[in-house]
Each structure stands twice: as structure tokens, then as C-alpha cells.
Symmetry: C2
Subunit: 142 residues, 2 copies
């Protein structure tokens, strides 16, 4: 096979905050490269046991003025989860806003510390509608 | 496994131009969803034979004013290739600018029609340095 998908890269302002955020979903740190000369860190995180699931977090130690606070240019990263309600509750318990709650038991959106849009999809059939999700309002866009 | 990586989504202005662009690398269209009511198309493309290699192209039929011409917010999509010189030549022959030529026989960057940054990495060991790549200048940033 001549072509291999490798990773999706996103730039982050605060590396520790981003690592903590992605760990909330269950991603694990798999590789780290600190470049003292270039003053940047590349940190790879993956879904345990799943090949080709890498995201690369690029952190420029001296900041990155080119990072807008929001962007429609990039779409989102998507992850399937076994219990979308439990996942969203876990995120809320850790201070993450559920921008698009799983009203339908199927789909939710949150934002990373750098406003990267993250889609969560229930694996298999949607869950039965349940509170507080059914009546929870949307926050911002995603 | 509770978590599954699904895809990376990017928004595109011209769906046909983007499909043609990603096909230059060898990606194939795997799923298409046209939504007449919402006036958008979701088009999935994957690396043949490789699971979890999906990109989702989102095309809003009436345009998307939120799409900036460039963004540092999103990093890049990355693909491994068997012959980075042949891949770059094929892209050039089809009108694609090689923003960062593979000077080192190892790494190149191009931009999609929507300025999404695409990284190409030589699979395995780097190729021996060769012209015209060694002396080809960079174009813009990536």
C-alpha cells in the first residue's frame, strides 16, 4: 500500500491543559519529542489498542500568535464512545462545557482548551433519551 | 474498548476540487451523504485498505463565510508515502504547489484547495537527496 494515514495535528497553547483534556476521553500519551533548539514539543496521543488513531499536539514554547481564538477552517476530531451520557458527565465533572449536549442520545460536541471542536458519537444504536441531556441548552457553536 | 477514533473533518468550499485533490494522493471516496433540507454534503474519503483513515469533507452548498483563507488553528493531516519524490512530482504535474519541497528526501508540505495543510512523509528511511528537490525553494508557509 503506497499511502498510509499517520495523524492529525493541532496546535496548542498550553500543553498540560491539552494533555489533561484529551485524557478525559481516554487517549494516552504515546510519544513525546522536545526540541530545545527549535523550542517546541511534539506530543502524540492515541486511542489505546487502536492503530492510526494519533493526534499530534504541537506546542511552541514561546507561544503562537497565529492561533486564532476560534476557526471554522478546521472541522473537528471525532471519537466513538460506549456511553455518551457517562462520557459527557465525566467531562462536565471536570469543567468541560458540553456545547452540544446529546439530546438525541447519539451526538455531542465539546471544545478543547484551544477551541478545537471535538465530536462524540455513541457507538452502535443511540441511547434512550434521558435527562438532564434532553432539555439541556446548547452553548455557543461547534 | 470504550473509545474509537472515527475521522477528521475539514470544511471545503468546492467539493469537486477537494475530491480531485485528495484523489491525487490515492484517497478514495467511501461514503457520501447529501442533505437537501440542510443544503450540505458530507463526503468521506479513506486510504484504501487502511481502517480509521477517514477524512470527512463538509460542503455547505450556499458557501461558508466563516472559512478563513488561512489558519494556524488547525495543524495538518499527515500521510506516509512510498516514494515522496514521485508523489510530489505527481502533485506538481496536476498544478499543486509544493510549499515545502522534500529537500531531505523525507518530508514535504502542500495545501488543499481550502489551504488545509497536508504533510507527506517518506515511509521507512529517507530517499537519497536528489534534484530538483534539493535546490527547490520554499513557497509561503504550511
Amino acid at each position: 500500500m503506497a499511502l498510509t494515514y499517520l495523524h492529525t495535528m493541532v496546535r496548542v497553547r498550553d500543553l498540560d491543559a491539552s494533555i489533561a483534556f484529551y485524557k478525559l476521553f481516554g487517549l494516552e500519551e504515546t510519544r513525546r519529542y522536545d526540541n530545545d533548539g527549535g523550542r517546541f514539543t511534539l506530543l502524540f496521543m492515541s486511542v489505546p489498542g487502536q492503530e492510526n488513531s494519533h493526534i499530534e499536539l504541537t506546542h511552541n514554547w514561546d507561544g503562537d500568535d497565529g492561533l486564532p481564538s476560534d476557526s471554522r477552517h478546521f472541522g473537528h476530531l471525532a471519537y466513538g464512545v460506549d456511553d455518551i451520557y457517562a462520557t459527557c458527565q465525566h467531562l462536565m465533572d471536570n469543567g468541560v462545557t458540553i456545547n452540544r449536549p446529546p439530546h438525541d442520545g447519539r451526538m455531542a460536541f465539546v471544545r478543547s482548551p484551544d477551541n478545537i471542536s471535538i465530536e462524540l458519537l455513541q457507538n452502535g444504536d443511540p441511547l434512550a433519551p434521558a435527562e438532564p441531556w434532553t432539555s439541556m441548552g446548547n452553548t455557543g457553536h461547534w
